[in-house]
Each structure stands twice: as structure tokens, then as C-alpha cells.
Amino acid sequence: MMTIGLSHYLVVAAALFCAGIFTMMTKRNAIGILIGVELVLNSTVLNLVAFACYLYRGAGKVDGQIFAIFVIVLAAAEAAIAVGICINLYKNWWTVDVDKASTLQG
């Protein structure tokens, strides 16, 4: 219990993942859904860093951290595009309620 192992970090990441999924499922605001996606991506990065630090370590072995850096960069890019889409949605429908934007449903 007092020895912090890999499982402890993975359980925290699982909690973050489930919180993100719950946020994505229950929010109607597009920005709220985006916040849920950020939580899920954070849990992914936490998993990568935990595995890298516990199972793949040694001199020069930093690949897990590099993957994590790429995930963070992609998350930032995704957030920028998604906020742009939300602003566009607001300009066309005057709301960012995702249930209202159902034109493509036919």
C-alpha cells in the first residue's frame, strides 16, 4: 500500500478516462464535450509516461515521453480546430448546443 507502483498511476489514469467519457456523454455544450476530450487525452498521456517510467527506462530511453509530447501537441492542434468549428457553429445557429446542429442528419 505504501509502495507506489505502476498500477496506482494506471488507476488514476482510468479514473480520468472515465470522468472524460462521462463528461462527453452528458454535456450538450460543444465546448463541454471538448473539455471531456481533453480529460481523456490527459489520461492517455499519463498512461504513456507511467509505462515509460516503470517499464522502459535506462540511459537514452525516452521514447514514452516523446510519444507523450506528440500527443500533447496533437491535443493542442485538435483544440484549436474544434474551437474554430464551435465559433463557426455559433455564427450559423446562434448556439453551440450539439443537439441543434443536426442538419446533416437529413
Partner: protein, 204 residues
Amino acid sequence: MNVRVKRIFPAAVAMLVGLGSTTLTALAAGSSAPTAAPPGGVLEAIMFYAVAIATVVSALGVCVSRNVVRMAVWLFLTLGSVALLYFLLAASFLGAIQLIIYAGGTLILLVFGVMLTSKSPWVRWEAPKLEVLGAGVVCLALFVTLSLVLCRASWPGAEAALPGAPVADIGRRLLTAYVVPFEVAGVLLMIVMVGAAHLARQEK
């Protein structure tokens, strides 16, 4: 006005407490890192549990908050706590990246998105109760299953202490073995910048 102050006050207090505790933990981690605490040290356990509880509580705060601004504040606390977890995992460069890009960039972007896309940032949309209940049951079941599996799994060779990787190694790998993904990420960021500006442009 009074009601609004009453509503904001707990969030502000929680934010201040969170910031204070995270700063203290960061200081403790920074002062204890060079001495290389023994694996399974009590200090490490205490710091891990404090930061883990802060992470989970603020993630739950994101879940249960109903207006978006409060969600963003809780997300800020979550991101800070996850950065502290990176520091505890001896990935200090990644913790700094997390604070700079996520807490400094992405979150500001989200808050600007909230301000630009609603007539009042305090507006709330409710999901139907049944949907919230279903989502809660599904996510709780997923979390319990994942936790049970993770706690029973054995990770061979995962019990030893953590040596931190120096930042120089990250830079070297990034510019040798990972130079192509690095450049592709740069091009992607430029495309994203142009695309976001195009999406959000003012129509004539």
C-alpha cells in the same frame, strides 16, 4: 449579486486551496528529487496520494459542474495535478510542457471559446436525467472493471526506483530518431493555424 458571490465563493476557495497545495507539493517534490528518495518511501506515497486525490476530485468536478466556466476551472486544477503526477514520475520536462501548453494555451483557448460562443457564459443545458444515470452507470462499471484488472495485473520488473531521464536525451532523440514525426508535427501545426483562422474568419 449576493447570490452570485455565494455561488462563486466555494469555487474560488477550492481553486486557492488547490493552487496552494499544488505549489507546496511541487516545492516538496523539487526539494526531495535530488536526494533520490528510496523506492516506496513514505514521503513519495504521501505525495502520490495527495496529488492523486486532487486529480480525481477535480476530474469529478469537471463531470458534475453544469456551467462551462466552472468546468474550465476544474479542468485547470486537473491539468495542474496531472503535471504534478508527471513530476512525481520523474518526467519534469513533460510536467513543464503540460503546464505551458495545456494550462497556459489550450485552457485559455477553451475559455475564449466559451466567451465567444454563448450569450451568457453561465448558461446551462441539462441532459435528460435518464441519460445522465445511464452514462454514470456505464462509466462507473468501466472504472471498476479497469481498476480490478489493473490491480490484479503483475508488471514484471516494475518495482524498482525511477531514474529520471535528462532533458538532453529527449532533445537528442527528438532530433535524430524522431526527426520526421517532429517535422510533420511542425507542418501539422502550421496547417492547423491556417485552418483555425480560416474557420473562425469574419464573413464579409
